[in-house]
Amino acid sequence: MNPPQYLLLSEATSVSDFVDDPVFTDVTKDGEVYTTYRIVRFTHEVKGHHDDWTHLANVSLEFDVGIGVAYLRVRNRIIEDSRIKPVSDTSGS
């Protein structure tokens, strides 16, 4: 099985090039906890990932302070699923 390919996207792209709505909700803890994020920038296109992730993006919490990296499954400009890498505390301490 070939490893997935991560294709770096140009910084000239905008979020609206990929999705209709930059706000999405990640669901964790057995479908119980809902956390809403906003995509800041799509950084990579992903090909051949065994979990069908299609993009990597920088994200920020929509209703709190924090940033992270999201694996996204984007189809027809809709975010169907996501997995967030640890969100950073940006308090500076």
Partner: protein
């Protein structure tokens, strides 16, 4: 201290009533055997503290929605029970009760416990079982809020147990939209998770007539 005891057949509070009747710290004691009696007493007489049994917990939560907000805000609510189990403690906390009075304690502790609860010196929130869980007090005590009919449709389908994907299919919405709306509903109702949202939706009903 003016006390209202909400008595029920499943877990009678007769022993507690006998203790309260013989304590000089209790200025008045009313005993209600029906929901109508509870509401009539609360709306016609000064009541500082209302006591319900563990088995009457769910009914008492529903009654809370029929109490004048001014009266409700000044009312201390206690559950008295012989079986203060962890589920009962957590439920009472989530339903907005101030304390749980264990009837297994010495009877001489009953009135002092009620007095400390009334003064805010003793609270269910400080019980070790509850404190360890990082819960929001009274999370399931209020009526559910939503902003428009789209939210209402989503929450109704959450309440009957549909997963997000099926809600999206039923309402012809994208999965992204449904999850954003569920997150919004959890947030504006000050809840922690989806199960609480479904529970609050399913308890969001009123008795049309108490007469």
């Amino acid at each position: 201290m003016n006390v209202l005891v909400c008595n029920d057949h499943a877990e009678p509070l007769d022993s507690l009533i006998a203790v309260l009747e013989n304590d000089t710290a209790v200025a008045s004691i009313n005993v209600a055997n029906t929901g109508r009696q509870v509401l009539d007493t609360l709306h016609s007489q000064p009541v500082d503290i209302s006591i319900s049994s563990g088995t009457g917990l769910d009914f008492n939560r529903m009654l809370q929605r029929h109490i004048d907000p001014v009266v409700a805000n000044n009312l201390t609510r206690v559950v008295a029970t012989t079986t203060p189990s962890a589920p009962l403690l957590v439920k009472a906390h989530q339903y907005g009760f101030n304390n749980v009075l264990p009837l297994t304690d010495e009877t001489s502790n009953f009135v002092p416990t009620l007095q400390r609860t009334l003064k805010g010196e003793e609270s269910l929130a400080n019980h070790p079982t509850v404190k360890a869980l990082h819960l929001t007090p009274g999370a399931l005590a209020h009526n559910i809020s939503f902003e428009d009919s789209n939210d209402q449709h989503v929450i109704e389908l959450v309440g009957v147990g549909l997963p997000d994907l099926e809600i999206a299919e039923a309402l012809n919405l994208t999965i992204q939209t449904v999850r954003n709306r569920v997150a919004h509903l959890i947030r504006i109702n000050h809840l922690s998770n989806r199960t609480q949202l479904a529970l609050l939706q399913n308890s969001n009903w009123q008795i049309p007539d108490f007469a």
